[in-house]
Symmetry: C2
């Protein structure tokens, strides 16, 4: 058959996504499938069953990463890899992660039913614990596999109830024997929902991010002085929550102040003793700064740090700041990114050269092999929430782009 | 003996306070004796034992309020009442409340050992659940007794674990048979630590508050829109925590903006989903405004409400505000207040005419009978914390003032 006319089966892709969405379905239409939970296990079981139907060679490594290999004609060539993750945020959506795994599966099913051979092997992958919402940090499976995170350290991560990562992996029977570690990969593709509003706003169907934003995570700890509110005059108070409020607004104003492509957010705050008639004496909050330009982001943080110091001193609230995570910006392979845009055009889908504000397993893969991503629009730009949604025809469009990107890479000598 | 030369036994008072401080003692030197807890029961048992040693007539009403009556010469005259509360804040201090009960006990012990008779009966009281930290609201025992709160409603209050107030009262065996309800009272005194820094700052030992601040409690609920932080541009975000941060600062600036004797505080905040990489979509925080002038406080609130509306509209975060509690300012009986100051002077203690920013059972009592309070300095102005402290000689001084205030009122025909 003419490879150019090949298309995925959009209905079948929808069916796979709907089937997966039942596992951990929430009453409000979302999904809760935390890493290494019972729901994660059920999703993995179904996934492995589907891989077997395609006669793929299945490997599960000791981080629980699942690989399904479709052999190529030339055994001497390295494989093309494509996939994402099946775990979800607590009360997350039905597309984040799973779309990339089911999209790749659909591409493989299309090749299978049309008996299409490729030069290189094609590997579908499900990375363990991308979200990091149960076991911090995020992207642990791909992090260890690519040699960016230590296996022992990853195995010892604890969830909020004190359950150990490795114990939970064993409990759900997904600790394989093969040590997680990279093989040569010819190209890595990750198909994902955009999780932002840009494609929708620009009226485009396919996004080809030129790479992933640099990311900085900080934890800020403030100390104040607790007192009964009524008898304590305003002058001389050391109110840790007021200091935090000023800092939260500084973070919120930062992108406008700095210009450039940047977002900055305080998502988490803990206040103590958190009683309505006691002045807060202890506050912890998080800072998340993302930018395409690493130096720009660091300069922004230095500026904020000076502001924080001034606020803490003025309010008499000692401050402690920890850098929790820092990832440099990750520019994808130019050739692959343009391949995505070209394929989209050939297939008649409007495309957009953009950036990714969110982290993905693709950031780690990008360090070891040519990598690119395919984005499709998130309705209303909503993600990590139960109302997360993407049109079925967009899911199909993205899978078609993925199919042809995989095909082109897999037929490269 | 010459009544004027009568003094309490400071060492014995210290001993009673130290004995009580053992019940619910925290490792950091404070006390946790939540209303109707096991610790509250043990404190009550000890208190009742001490009342029995003085041959007082003991009454426990169906709200668990404990009264100990020392008869007067003239049975036709109404009693002088004095007391406070023995429950504490979580991780509270060793003086808040208990000082007023132990101070009154010490005054009665001094009368007892000197065989001093009074014209009127004297009643020592321990009010149930003044703090309201386990069962909201505060001042429940005195509220029902004075007819300001409904008994059935009070009995149905739940703690954070769903335990019912009345069930817990029965569990600790302190639900008496007499319905809680006021009797004629000739005068009510409440001896208490200041819980603020004013006496210490002014270098005075005895405070006589002219009354208690008006108090307004509000609960503010904000809605935002949750989204993955990375891919969501700053423009178009609806960040409920940023809206809250602006509002917290408006509350903090309010007293300076309004002038007059006012304090305003946000003590409690809940943020959802409270995840470092998700934009907050729901925030609840509390507002506590106190002022001597009711109209001034209400005007301040109206001004803040307009600010809140503007912030909520600008940030696209719908707002809901509930008035949780409102108490008008409570001016104490002028004659009794000046009596406190006169006695302090006669006993050689420096005195200060001041106000009380904190609520006390005395606010409810003030609605049904002539009422006054006696304050002694809080070291560093600290209260509702484990380091709460007051010098033993100040505890003794306040008890001496209380003793003579009770004596003078109890000998009035």
């Amino acid at each position: 058959m003419d490879l150019k006319s090949l298309r995925v089966n959009g209905k079948r892709l929808q069916g796979s996504l709907e089937e997966m969405a039942k596992i951990g379905a929430t009453p409000s239409g979302g999904v809760q499938r935390l890493a290494l939970s019972e729901e994660d296990k059920r999703a993995r079981d179904l996934f492995v069953m589907w891989l077997k139907e395609l006669d793929l060679g299945i490997i599960i490594d000791d981080m629980g990463n699942i690989f399904g290999t479709r052999p190529g004609r030339d055994k001497s060539l390295s494989a093309v890899m494509s996939g994402s993750h099946m775990d979800s945020q607590p009360k997350g959506g039905r597309f984040d992660g799973i779309l990339g795994v089911m999209g790749t599966l659909e591409a493989l099913r299309s090749l299978h039913e049309n008996n299409i051979e490729t030069e290189r092997p094609i590997i579908i992958v499900n990375w363990t614990n991308e979200e990091g919402s149960r076991f911090a940090p995020a992207m642990v499976g791909s992090g260890v596999w690519t040699g960016n995170l230590d296996r022992g350290w990853a195995c010892d991560r604890l969830d909020i109830n004190g359950n150990r990562f490795e114990d939970e992996l064993i409990r759900i029977s997904y600790k394989g024997s093969l040590p997680a570690g990279k093989w040569p990969v010819h190209a890595y593709y990750e198909y994902h929902i955009e999780q932002g509003p840009v494609l929708e706003k620009e009226g485009k169907r396919i996004g080809a991010p030129k790479g992933i934003f640099a990311l900085q995570w900080y934890d800020v700890y403030l100390e104040g002085e607790a007192n009964q509110v009524g008898p304590t005059p305003m002058a001389g108070r050391h109110d840790a929550l007021c200091a935090a409020a000023e800092m939260i607004l500084k973070i919120n104003e930062l992108p406008q102040r700095m210009g450039g492509n940047m977002v900055a957010t305080v998502g988490e705050i803990q206040n103590y003793p958190n009683s309505r008639n006691i002045i807060p004496d202890r506050v912890h909050f998080t800072v998340d700064i993302r930018s395409w330009d690493d130096d720009h982001a660091l300069k922004a943080w230095e500026m904020v740090w000076r502001d924080f110091d001034e606020i803490a001193t003025r309010r008499g609230c000692p401050i402690k700041i920890e850098e929790t995570w820092r990832v440099e910006h990750s520019p994808f392979d130019r050739k692959l990114v343009h391949r995505i845009l070209n394929i989209a055009e050939e297939l008649g889908y409007s495309g957009l050269h953009m950036v990714s504000g969110a982290g993905h397993d693709a950031s780690y893969m990008n360090r070891i092999c040519p990598t690119a991503m395919i984005f499709v629009p998130s309705i209303g730009g909503r993600s990590h929430v139960e109302v997360e949604n993407t049109k079925w025809e967009d899911c199909e469009a993205g899978a078609n782009v993925l199919l042809h990107a995989i095909l082109q890479s897999a037929n490269e000598k």
